[in-house]
């Protein structure tokens, strides 16, 4: 963590001196600007990264530096963030830069925070600039690897899923009861594997925040029905009643079909995991406020302690100790649900009491009501290029 104290004239000289020494020593570039965007402080690391000299920069507007022979994209991002940052809303993003206009490509993480004066009124902003090129490249390789692995797994899986589905649905002729059970089990396991591969790919997107960008007019009822298709045998084997309570007709929403299905699948998987054998899980899609539908997954399982309810959506968070837990899983399911739902401009609600089950729900805007979906940012943004998924 970097703590910045902007020296004021009333400060004791030794305090200002100490602050200045700290700023000189930190590896991150620190730039502070006043409300008009004039630079009030610039440490040596920022001088190196921004290719500017403090003595010629202090007191000048950041805007004046743009097009001054320095890296335009970074300075443009700084200027943009200065207009957007508020005391409640720090901004963080990764920006691509070409130092000195060279062909060399580097990535810097830009963190922008609002500065307040002694009356706690906004007084400008402080920018932390950190070179994250190595981290970013490693991340790209990781995403590329996961994407290739997923492709290699999906190809044979397509055959298994297609053939087992054709057999299970009688498209290739009738089967005896035992054969039917076996084929349905193969199909369900293929759906389960597909869901796991989807999670693997999403793991690569944790830092990329690339959720739900393929918004299309789709029938939410149909998506929920499809999402349940992979859990029938599991529920039956554990004598869990899995019910779908769906309205007649269609409910058209603007959403990413695959991501919405993944979100519902993750909620159902989570509900089944924490429901005792013989319990029940209900998936409901119902009209809520005018122009909106609510999708909810409710179980009568073990429930969630109130102290964990805010944390279950965190990446890798699991209520149980991973070494001694009884339930499998990666701790990513609810994290993905949250990201996917937020990318659709909504939020996930959880109602639960320990020992009395849990109900997860979210609402979607019906299409054609004139309102547009504004995907919410779910955290850090990345540099514009995303070669991992866009290269082929």
């Amino acid at each position: 963590m970097v703590v910045v104290t902007v020296p004021r004239s009333t400060e004791a000289p030794d305090t200002a001196c100490r602050s200045s020494s700290v700023l000189d020593a930190v590896l991150a570039g620190i730039v502070a600007v006043d409300r008009e965007g004039r630079v009030t402080l610039l440490n040596p690391a920022a001088e190196r990264l921004l290719e500017v000299r403090a003595m010629t920069t202090i007191g000048r507007c950041l805007g004046e530096l743009i097009g001054d022979g320095h890296d335009g994209e970074l300075l443009a991002a700084v200027r943009e963030d200065l207009d957007r940052v508020t005391p409640d809303r720090p901004i963080e993003r990764v920006v691509e830069i070409h130092p000195n206009g060279s062909l060399e490509l580097r990535y810097v993480r830009l963190r922008s925070r609002c500065l307040k004066d002694h009356l706690r009124a906004p007084a400008g902003a402080v920018f932390e600039v950190l070179d994250v090129t190595d981290e970013h490249k490693t991340n790209q390789l990781k995403n590329q690897f996961l994407s290739i692995v997923a492709h290699e797994l999906r190809t044979p899986l397509t055959g298994i899923k297609t053939f087992s589905t054709m057999l299970a649905k009688g498209m290739l002729g009738g089967l005896e009861e035992r054969q039917q059970t076996v084929v349905e089990s193969i199909r369900e396991q293929s759906l389960r594997l597909e869901h796991q591969i989807d999670k693997l790919v999403n793991l690569g997107h944790i830092d990329a925040e690339e959720y739900s960008q393929d918004l299309d007019a789709i029938d939410a009822v149909e998506v929920v029905r499809q999402a349940l298709g992979g859990f029938e045998v599991t529920a039956r084997d554990r004598a869990i009643t899995l019910r779908a309570i769906l309205p007649d007709g269609t409910r058209i929403v603007r959403a990413d079909r695959s991501d919405l299905r993944r979100a519902v699948q993750a909620l159902v998987e989570n509900a089944l995991k924490f429901t005792r054998d013989g319990g029940s899980v209900a998936v409901t899609l119902q009209d809520s406020e005018p122009g909106r539908v609510e999708i909810a997954v409710a179980d009568d399982g073990v429930g969630i302690e109130p102290r964990y309810q805010g944390r279950i959506f965190e990446k890798f968070f699991q209520v149980e100790d991973p070494l001694t837990r009884h339930h499998g899983g990666s701790g990513l399911g609810l994290f993905f649900v949250k990201n996917i739902v937020e990318a659709h401009g909504a939020s996930v609600r959880v109602d639960s009491a320990l020992g009395h089950g849990a109900r997860f729900s979210f609402e979607l805007q019906l299409d054609g009501t004139g309102e547009t979906i504004t995907p919410q940012s779910t955290g850090a943004q990345t540099a514009p290029a995303h070669p991992t998924t866009d290269d082929r």
Binding site: R154, T155, T158, G159, M166, M171, D216, Q226
Partner: protein, 124 residues
């Protein structure tokens, strides 16, 4: 009249499984194992629809789509992108490049039939 679907796909397993699904739904299915062969067959067969994979040896699916849409002989044939890999904004990109739809593998046979029924013969 029997409608023809051309699958351009390098994985034999995907061709066979897709072919079985579409033939069960009454389509005639032809296949090509790379982009170049796919373009040639699109010209000679004039299919009602093309199912196009992205990751293929030689010219990839995006390039194949570009060439199909550039050639007046094939530009009117609806193309559905058919991919097992995540593509950033894939739906949007394929739409901007002239594809009729975007579909991910593994697929649900019913969904594939529905999609092919929707676009087959809808020349653009």
């Amino acid at each position: 009249m029997e409608r023809t679907v051309l699958i351009i796909e390098d994985e034999k397993l995907i061709i066979v499984s897709t072919q079985m699904v579409l033939e069960a739904a009454g389509f005639r299915v032809e296949s090509a194992v790379n982009g170049e062969e796919g373009i040639q067959k699109a010209k000679s067969l004039r299919p009602d629809l093309v199912l196009l994979d992205i990751m293929m040896p030689g010219i990839d699916g995006w390039e194949t789509l570009t060439r199909l849409k550039r050639d007046p002989e094939t530009s009117g044939i609806p193309v559905i992108i058919f991919t097992a890999r995540e593509h950033a904004r894939g739906h949007q990109k394929s739409s901007e490049m002239g594809a009729a739809d975007y579909f991910r593998k593994p697929f649900e046979p019913d969904e594939l039939i529905e999609l092919v029924e929707k676009h087959a013969g809808q020349r653009v």
